[in-house]
């Protein structure tokens, strides 16, 4: 009985993570469309939410990778899964609060690896899989996306250089809506699966499912709903950084950037790489600035993001490990319940803090003035 109680807590936590994943990553697909006013902000997040929902049902090929490829599933207990999710959620909320588009996938992977290390030690983690499937793609994918977006942007401007400005902007806004929709779809197929994988892992470790079983339908449905709801709520702080902070974006650049993102994400998930949509989208947006003559690229903002990317795995890992020690130290179902309440309180605190310097659909496109939110007091960790 107590196992089932913990299982329910784990599933709720996983869906909460999926929700943060949705609103943290809305910007990947829609930031450029919002910045170029191709779509009104509310419509953009609504469209993205629906497409995330559809995307979540499209494919299930990445779901397995995240669990079985990175940690030794035999050593995983419900408490480990829970602590990993706690690490992922808290790190996602921290970076969201700071307006940094860090990777939700890395937050989740970092959290799970941290809690596994705490529970089982170093042999519980498949280091080779981690480097091969997570770290190397994380380094390569933004570079590839940047190059493709830069080439695309250059071509697009070159080809339409005789077309008058109004026609061009109008045409590319339409194209942009299409390409941004593809990114939303890709995000749904890619990121929703990661949570499905985690919940399935929890079900297997609780022996509710047999080892090697596929995700049951209710898992797919609830993950799809959670991520699309999160997307619809919209992480306006991150959208603002991506759309306004990195590069001043025009419609042709937006379309080139989103096309590059969609292509790289879909191709990579086709090959089973669970890479980060965020890294790819950021690389593409930078590339669209590089490819356009005279565009201002704020490399300092990009540098700040890159730092956050490097920190994400270890920081989420540290939180995951701490959450495990705490839950395990208290022991049993009570330990998980107490940590569950701690995470919920943390989430509420972040929400409350964010209201003080709210970024909403109304002010998301205001002129970039250097910072999303006022300088935060706690930059790293929690």
């Amino acid at each position: 009985m107590s196992n089932d109680f913990v299982l329910v807590l784990v599933v709720i936590t996983a869906l909460a993570f999926d929700f943060t994943n949705g609103f943290h990553d809305t910007g990947n697909a829609m930031a450029t469309s919002i910045a170029t006013r191709a779509l009104p902000p509310k419509v953009a997040v609504g469209l993205s939410g629906v497409l995330n929902l559809v995307g979540a049902f499209l494919s299930l090929s990445v779901a397995a990778t995240i669990a079985s490829g990175l940690v030794n599933t035999k050593l995983i207990t419900l408490t480990v899964v829970f602590a990993g999710l706690a690490g992922g959620i808290l790190w996602n909320l921290t970076t969201w609060f700071l307006g940094i588009p860090s990777s939700s996938s890395h937050a989740l992977i970092g959290g799970v690896i941290g809690s596994t290390l705490a529970a089982a030690g170093s042999h519980g983690v498949k280091w080779h899989g981690l480097v091969q499937k997570v770290i190397i793609p994380a380094v390569l994918s933004p570079i590839i996306a940047l190059c493709i977006a830069a080439i695309g942007t250059y071509l697009v401007y070159r080809i339409t250089r005789d077309v008058n400005e109004k026609t061009r902007t109008h045409g590319f806004r339409i194209g942009q809506i299409g390409s941004a929709s593809m990114v939303s779809l890709a995000h749904g197929t890619d990121d929703a699966q990661k949570t499905m994988g985690i919940i399935t892992l929890a079900l297997i470790s609780n022996h509710t499912l047999a080892s090697g079983a596929k995700a049951p339908f209710w898992v797919i449905l609830s993950c799809a709903l959670a991520i699309s709801l999160g997307t619809y709520i919209g992480g306006w702080r991150v959208i603002r950084t991506l759309g306004k902070g990195l590069v001043e974006i025009d419609a042709p650049q937006g379309m080139a950037a989103e096309s590059s993102s969609a292509a790289v994400i879909l191709l990579s998930s086709h090959f089973g790489y669970s890479l980060s949509t965020t890294h790819v989208a950021t690389g593409s947006i930078l590339g669209s600035g590089v490819g356009k003559k005279g565009a201002e690229v704020r490399w300092s903002v990009a540098g700040r993001m890159a730092t956050a990317w490097v920190i994400t795995l270890p920081a989420a890992g540290a939180v995951g490990a701490l959450a495990y020690y705490a839950a395990h130290g208290i022991g049993g179902s009570a330990g998980v319940l107490i940590m569950f309440l701690v995470v919920a309180a943390g989430g509420a605190a972040f929400y409350w803090q964010s209201r003080k310097t709210a970024v909403t659909s109304k002010n998301v496109n205001d002129e970039w003035s250097g910072t999303v939110a006022p300088p935060a007091k706690t930059p790293v960790g929690v």
């Binding site: 499209l58 494919s59 299930l60 090929s61 080779h128 480097v131 091969q132 190397i136 390569l140 590839i144 996306a145 493709i148 977006a149 080439i151 695309g152 071509l155 697009v156 080809i159 339409t160 005789d162 077309v163 008058n164 109004k166 026609t167 061009r168 109008h170 045409g171 590319f172 194209g175 299409g178 390409s179 593809m182 779809l185 197929t189 042709p252 379309m255 080139a256 096309s259 590059s260 993102s261 969609a262 292509a263 790289v264 879909l266 191709l267 990579s268 998930s269 086709h270 090959f271 790489y273």
Partner: protein, 84 residues
């Protein structure tokens, strides 16, 4: 292929990524230009606001470009659905 990087996947991601990620927007741009083009023989456009101002041939070519873009996207989605 080595044990750290799947090189065959990597070069395919780069090549197909370039074709789809940069090629399709470029084709879209070609179509957009064809849409607007015809009007440049008719000299200065008074209808500058309008996207469609072109000749029939231009519009047909533009339609072809957009159709190829849409078909490529459709094929991409089909591949994803099929793979699962």
């Amino acid at each position: 292929m080595n044990s750290w990087i799947n090189l065959s996947a990597l070069w395919r991601i780069v090549v197909v990524g370039l074709l789809a990620g940069a090629g399709l927007p470029a084709l879209f741009a070609v179509g957009l230009r064809a849409l607007a083009a015809g009007s440049d023989s008719a000299a200065v456009g008074t209808d500058e606001d309008r996207v469609i101002g072109g000749s029939r041939a231009g519009m047909a070519f533009a339609g072809f470009c957009f159709a190829v873009v849409l078909a490529a996207i459709g094929y991409g989605i089909y591949l994803i659905v099929k793979a699962s």
